[in-house]
């Protein structure tokens, strides 16, 4: 099998707060192949966003990446000198942010903030840069791009701003795009437009994408493979069909079951009850010993309290970290 484009091994990001060390990301592994979309799903506090920020060493204090490797095209980004990282960040790996309203600088016009990035990264002239910005704005479906160049972010609607955000990510032909909740701030019909755009661009440009979201529907539509995170650790990674049709980890199953579905009838006969996950996510200042999901898990046995499950391949391309599903583990 070919070397993956990006592989993350045993990534650990801890928040050093006054109350103690919050282990927000605690030994996370995943990999992204060329041209593939990996969806990282999880609830708030699962560590999905922090993991994606850690890839480019963007975790804000008091958080610090305390361990692991992030190998991108053969180099470990975590040990790379800052200057060398600068040639990768924004260029080989680009980011699309959640909130299009705040991710664009309000005091620069669209043309100048996109143009500056190009001029910074590449030895081209102003005219060339402008031509490239116009072609990218056309690519992301912005009508009359030449006129938009002179507009400011506040003159654009939310959907348009997110299109500009995507164009900015694509400026330097990245081979990997990190998209953190790219559609959460948008209305449903606009969300659909942006998702279609991202899927279409990925096909046409052949880039890989890491899509971080809490929305199972979004990953179902977009992702080739899915990584499910819970409380700073990976529960399960598999191709999208497997995650949705034959999930193995109890958390994945419970999560899918607990979502109301628009393609499901709930009326008629007795009132239906959604299956729920009892309790709530753990406090990561003091996470449960063993498997972090065990206090809420319907399948938990005594060993789950003691043994920290490790991601283990149970079928080709399908890894699970649950000792009840045959994962290996280390005793605490």
């Amino acid at each position: 099998m070919a070397e993956p484009l990006l592989s993350v091994e045993d990534l650990k990001v801890h928040f050093f707060t006054r109350d103690g060390v919050v282990r927000a990301v605690d030994g996370v592994d995943f990999a992204v192949n060329r041209g593939e979309t990996l969806g990282i799903v999880g609830e708030s506090g699962s560590g999905k966003t922090v993991s994606s920020l850690a890839l480019l060493r963007l975790v804000p204090p008091p958080a610090r990446t305390v361990g692991g490797r992030v190998v991108f095209e053969g180099t470990d980004l975590l040990t790379l000198p800052t200057k060398a990282l600068g040639t990768i960040r924004g260029r080989r790996i680009a980011m699309v942010f959640q909130n299009p309203a705040t991710s664009l600088n309000p005091i620069y016009s669209i043309g100048s903030q996109l143009g500056e990035i190009l001029l910074w990264h590449e030895p081209i002239t102003r005219a060339e840069a402008e031509a490239r910005v116009i072609s990218l704005l056309t690519l992301v479906g912005i009508t009359d791009p030449a006129a938009r160049l002179r507009q400011y972010p506040h003159e654009l609607s939310g959907g348009m701003k997110q299109r500009v955000g995507i164009a900015r990510a694509l400026l330097c032909n990245p081979s990997l795009v990190l998209a953190d909740e790219p559609t959460t701030a948008l209305d449903v019909t606009i969300q659909a437009q942006i998702l279609d755009l991202l899927a279409d661009l990925r096909r046409r440009l052949g880039m890989a994408m890491v899509l971080v979201t809490h929305d199972m529907g979004v990953v179902a539509r977009m992702a080739d493979r899915i990584t499910v995170m819970y409380a700073g650790r990976v529960c399960e990674t598999a191709d999208a069909a497997t995650i949705f049709r034959a999930p193995q980890h109890p958390y994945t199953r419970a999560l899918l079951d607990s979502m109301p579905r628009i393609d499901h009838r709930y009326t008629g006969g007795a009132r239906q009850v959604l299956p729920t996950i009892p309790g709530r996510p753990p406090n990561l200042l003091d996470p449960p010993a063993g498997c972090r999901f065990h206090p809420r898990c319907p399948d938990a046995i005594a060993d789950c309290r003691r043994i920290l499950p490790l991601e283990t391949e149970i079928a080709p391309g399908h890894t699970v970290s649950c000792i009840r599903r045959g994962s290996q583990g280390i005793a605490a």
Binding site: T189, R221, A254, M259, P260, T276
Partner: protein, 328 residues
């Protein structure tokens, strides 16, 4: 047919757009946040009110509760028009309505006074409505906490010590304190995590059955609407465009906007047949709403008449009404 518990007739809320002068302001335009909206809810039912941001669904709820004064129209609660009651100064009559009509807010972080313990928060409605039964307050607070799945000692805690889901339970308990008949739920689960969302939705359903409540459930999340509602109303740019029993609406939506909205929801099933209706463009600002049908500039089935005449809300099937010149 029984009498509707809540009947909203031709409700409108228009905001003037003011231009600021030196001292005085003058009206430059008008935003029709809610325009001529009519619907009714039978006792024990749940009406889901859906739409995208800015469609006027929250303003409708706020106008019903007189948090904003309606510009026109009537709101009949149990047969009584409550708009003039709130305009008047009969505090007793107002309190009687407040008591049976309660609101649960979207954001449980903002809707609880941060300086009050949960007990103090729950005591407020009792102080207002049951001032003469002070001895019964504590028992009532304990019952309320138990009812929403919290424990009596939680009354001593402050909101910031709770998770989002627990706070929303407190919000529900506060609304239930004075035994209302109708609960307006404004996006009660959208700020919560998926696993907690299901818990709160189940709680709402359970309470409805147990206490015989009627709900107006406002949300942009159609899957939770499908779960909790018996009827669904869809709003677009301040207009009600379609209203129908829940299964009818999800199975055979008549309005092209409803169809597009339903098809835009990402289904958590990777193989789901993609029969999406892609909508062109974005929702126009409510300040310059298109003439005729507000949806016509984005509608694939628009006829010439759509840009001239506003379609009235007309019967389309049993309990199914929609506002479209060229329904699907």
């Amino acid at each position: 047919m029984t009498e509707a518990l809540l009947e909203v007739r031709n409700l409108s809320k228009h905001y003037p757009v003011l231009k600021r002068g030196i001292l005085l302001q003058r009206k430059a335009a008008e935003i029709r946040a809610v325009d001529d909206v009519s619907f009714s809810i039978q006792p024990g039912e749940t009406l889901g009110l859906v739409g995208e941001s800015g469609c006027g669904k929250t303003t409708t709820a706020r106008a019903i509760l007189n948090l904003v004064t309606p510009s026109a129209g009537s709101v009949r609660f149990a047969g009584q028009d409550i708009v003039p009651v709130f305009r008047g100064s009969d505090r007793r009559a107002q309190l009687a309505i407040r008591r049976s009509l309660q609101y649960v807010f979207q954001d449980p972080y903002l809707s609880l006074n941060p300086r009050w313990t949960i007990g103090e928060t729950l005591r407020e409605p009792l102080r207002v409505h049951l001032a003469d039964q002070q001895s019964a307050w504590q028992a009532r607070i304990d019952t309320l906490l138990e009812m929403v799945g919290l424990e009596p000692h939680h009354a001593w805690r402050y909101p910031h010590e709770f998770s989002g889901g627990q706070r929303q339970r407190v919000g529900v308990a506060r609304a239930l304190a004075v035994e209302p008949r109708l609960l307006i739920l404004d996006e009660p689960v959208s700020s919560l995590d998926i696993s907690v969302r299901a818990q709160i939705l189940n709680l709402l359903v359970e309470l409805q059955d147990r206490l015989g409540l009627t709900y107006l459930y406002i949300s942009h999340d159609l899957s939770s609407v499908r779960f909790i509602s018996t009827h669904v109303a869809v709003m677009y740019l301040g207009k009600l465009v379609e209203i129908a029993p829940v299964d009818t609406l999800f199975a055979t939506p008549g309005h092209h906007y409803t169809r597009a909205l339903l098809s835009a929801i990402p289904v958590p099933d990777p193989g789901a047949a993609s029969t999406r209706i892609a909508l062109q463009g974005e929702v126009p600002s409510a300040m310059n709403r298109p003439p005729g049908c507000p949806f016509h500039p984005r509608c694939a089935a628009a006829l010439p008449v759509c840009s001239r005449e506003e379609p009235p809300l007309t019967a389309f099937g049993p309990g199914h009404r929609l506002a479209c010149h060229n329904p699907a």
